[in-house]
Symmetry: C2
Subunit: 141 residues, 2 copies
């Protein structure tokens, strides 16, 4: 199975310094700073990358789980919101809220919700992010 690589460099101190990251595929890379992470400067940050990773993994995994159950989805869209908060004085990634909209012919809302909750626990990125409270709300389109 694959190993995926990415790099990041930070130069200078926490507040005045600057960072950049890039993935080996060439598809992902940007600069970041104290301002883009902890304040409201425009730009990306690790929490946005985690939200993208969780959303991407979750949409793929729920599609796979529904397919395996004999009710394949036409489309699964996941909006992920990753919150950073200060806990005991330390910046802490507390929650990942997922809002899922799924187009799945022939199933009802309760069946979708059951599948959505199972995928929340079972998908690979969820099983990596066990330090975070992941919450899922799924809606049939």
């Amino acid at each position: 199975m694959p190993t995926r690589n990415a790099s990041a460099t930070w130069e200078g101190g926490l507040k005045g310094g600057k960072g950049s990251f890039s993935g080996e595929s060439g598809a992902v890379g940007a600069s970041y700073s104290f301002g883009t992470r902890f304040e409201h400067a425009p730009g990306t940050n690790p929490e946005e990358l985690l939200a993208a990773a969780e959303a991407a993994c979750y949409s793929m995994a729920l599609s796979a789980d529904l397919e395996k159950a004999g009710t394949p989805a036409e489309r699964v869209q996941t909006d992920a919101a990753c919150t950073l908060d200060f806990i005991d004085g330390k910046p802490t990634i507390t929650t990942m809220r997922l809002r899922v909209r799924a187009k799945v012919p022939g199933i009802d809302a309760a069946t979708l919700d059951k599948a959505a909750q199972d995928t929340k626990v079972g998908c690979p990125v969820s099983r990596a992010l066990t330090g975070v409270d992941i919450q899922v709300e799924a809606t049939l389109e």
Copy 2:
């Protein structure tokens, strides 16, 4: 403190389907597929995003920790390698290996190593990825 948003859509089944993701900042977004995730097709995947998130957070956090200790780094570069493996038949993100090179005037290798191991445990993304075995090897430049 901020909440960061990203979205992803998967259309179709696991093997024949296709996905795309994007972050709200506009700095991160790409397509992905079964091939780019589990095989060797060119492109990105959630594991590369996790590697980028960990590398970005770690480089920033080690710089902050060294600054707080009175020995600020000029530069911290982190290469992150995120491995996906099959465990009990399930795709599982098993390890995140970090290779760190740091330019830090006035400290020795043992002091850097101690700081690097502390940051491994303490940085926000490490404390989120508690389902993954994170390993750090740090070198003074």
